[in-house]
Amino acid sequence: MLKTSKILLAAAVVLAASTGLSFAQQKPRVAFVPQIVGIPYFDAMKKGGDEAAKTLGVDFIYQGPVDTNPVDQLQIVQNLINQGVEAISVSVLDASSLAPVVEAAKAKNIKLFTSDSDAPKSGRALYVAQASDQGLGYTIIDEMVKRTGPDAKIGIVSGEATASNLNAWIGFMRERVKEKYPKVTLLDPQYAGGSAERAAQIAGDLMTSNPDLKGIIAVASTTCPGVGQAIETAGKVGQVVGTGYCSPNTARAYLKSGAFGYSVLWDPAELGYLTVWAGQQLIEGKEIPAKTTPEGMSHPVTFDKKTGVLLLGDPAVFTADNVDKFNF
């Protein structure tokens, strides 16, 4: 009896493994796990990923947490590993906890890489970067100083304190200020979590406690509407320059009301496309050249083999004048 069930079990395992294998041989699967689903930014990445899947002939899986919760995110990644998805990319919420998952993926010969937000010390295969963290941090400060002048006090409203991409950008903002604008005061970042109303309250409180504040930077996309709204509510349009890493659709109303002077980002659809392309290269075991134009893209991307960073390009600056050309 025991023997029969053992044989049955073994047969089931072989069957399961072989069907998994035959799946894999049909079409390689590339998954992307965003930080949160249902926000315009990651939706645009999904669109780009879908397009790449069509052009490049792979299956694209898009699954993520409904809240910016690192534990939920890791569970989703773990599930994808258990399903044997060949390449999995993650926009990392908590860089410190990715390493064990990378190990688990390697054990199953699954390519795990990061996209949009990195975990450099996790052993990930590579990192698909939207624009360099440095470029983003520097650009938002440069554009801000253009509008406020070099003698300005600037506040920062971020999202989760563990989000590594947000923290990296803040780090480069500080570096830029220290090196180039010695008279600019950058206040310590305040964290609003994923909540727009909390961001509005924090931005309001920052303006109250710093009457000489000249700019507020919304670092997480979820904090953008809150910061824009707070500047309008406080009647400080024109006195305080709002900005952030906000999608054109989210920032549009505030760019037009003047609460936001500009917004800095990149095209997430392109990032989603590049993510799927990178996943395909990894699955096929291809070397990525230092500079190349992936099939279906209009401009070249760069790859730094030493750091494993695949870079999309320079950040884009959206203003009231050009914002209507974009829809994401």
């Binding site: 315009p40 305040q190 909540s195 409180d205 109250t208 406690s209």
Partner: protein, 332 residues
């Protein structure tokens, strides 16, 4: 009325009033910007949604229930309000859409919790997920942002320096206060919260009372949604995520028992004020916002710890606090 009002002010309310005065005093000394008219008005405005959601939550906890989905219910109602504003329906229609949508969702919550006989914490956790998905579907990945200002012009205005929304909040509290002080409803709520079985044996229609509490809570969330849109003019995917826990915290700090059978409306209002003043004041004096949830959490633990230590967090003890009005014999 005056005597009843005084009777309604118990030791917890006095303690909270003292804590509020102390917090205000400390922040006024530490930050020159705290005790300014514009900051105090801002704090009051930030309280609006929590005042209303806390009001409903007081009744829900009073009957011995709980509802962790209230923030998302507000979010759903806010989407209804926002969409009507986008469709140029005007301030009145959009404003009324909030309580209407909230009341309807409240009916649904009440049906699931009360008629489904599912423990409230489990049922509302499930509903939280369902409502969250509904928010996701209703927004379709595109947030509402920079909505028309119709509502803002009405509710965001100030009357004698105070937010115009304040009278509405006060009126809502007075309505509920009258209902629980001067009609048998209050007694029913407390009786049901104390012991469902005993209340039923006394001839109280416990189900109806529970049902009413969840529907009123839904209405409150809907009204909060109208104020939310008037203030923030946007709805993001994560809307209201923190509100349920904040509301439960404020209500418990206010002296309403987590086990039901004891509630205080004034305490809830004080609890909301204390939470928001702490959040505002801590930021003004330069404490990183990361520490704010810690302070709230510690405050809550201190309150529950004291209750446990003094034996107030005990059903038998709580029942002794239940004051039966003279007409209780006719209550059934």
């Amino acid at each position: 009325m005056m005597r009843s009002l005084l009777r309604a002010i118990g030791e917890r309310e006095l303690l909270l009033a003292a804590a509020l005065v102390a917090a205000v005093a400390v922040f006024s000394v530490l930050s020159p910007y705290f005790m300014t008219a514009s900051n105090l008005v801002t704090v009051l405005r930030n309280c609006n949604e929590l005042f209303l959601i806390g009001l409903g939550m007081t009744l829900v906890l009073g009957i011995g229930g709980v509802d962790v989905s209230v923030g998302v219910v507000m979010g759903l109602a806010a989407i209804a309000v926002g969409r009507l504003l986008q469709a140029d329906a005007g301030a009145l229609a959009a404003g009324l859409a909030g309580p209407l949508a909230g009341g309807l969702i409240g009916l649904l919550t009440a049906s699931v919790v009360v008629l489904g006989r599912i423990p409230a914490i489990v049922a509302t956790l499930g509903l939280f997920g369902v409502y969250r998905a509904a928010v996701f579907l209703a927004l379709g990945g595109a947030w509402l942002s920079g909505l028309p200002t119709d509502l803002t012009q009405v509710l965001g205005a100030s009357v004698f320096g105070l937010p115009a929304a304040l009278p509405v909040v006060v009126l809502a509290y007075l309505l509920v206060f009258v209902a629980i002080r001067y009609t048998p409803f209050g007694l029913y709520v407390l009786a049901a919260g104390n012991s469902e079985a005993k209340a039923r044996l006394s001839g109280i229609a416990v189900r109806k009372v529970q049902f009413a509490a969840y529907v009123v809570s839904g209405l409150c969330c809907g009204l909060a949604a109208t104020f939310y849109i008037a203030t923030y003019r946007n709805v993001a995917m994560t809307v209201g995520g923190t509100l349920a826990l904040e509301a439960i915290a404020a209500v418990i700090i206010g002296g309403t028992s987590i086990l039901g059978g004891r509630m205080s409306l004034l305490g809830t209002a004080f609890g909301v004020l204390l939470l928001r003043i702490l959040q505002n004041g801590l930021l003004l004096v330069g404490v990183p916002s990361l520490w704010q949830p810690v302070v709230t959490g510690l405050l809550l633990l201190a309150v529950l710890g004291t209750e446990a230590a003094t034996g107030r967090l005990n059903l038998a003890a709580a029942s002794r606090h239940l004051r039966l009005p003279s007409r209780s014999g006719a209550a059934a």
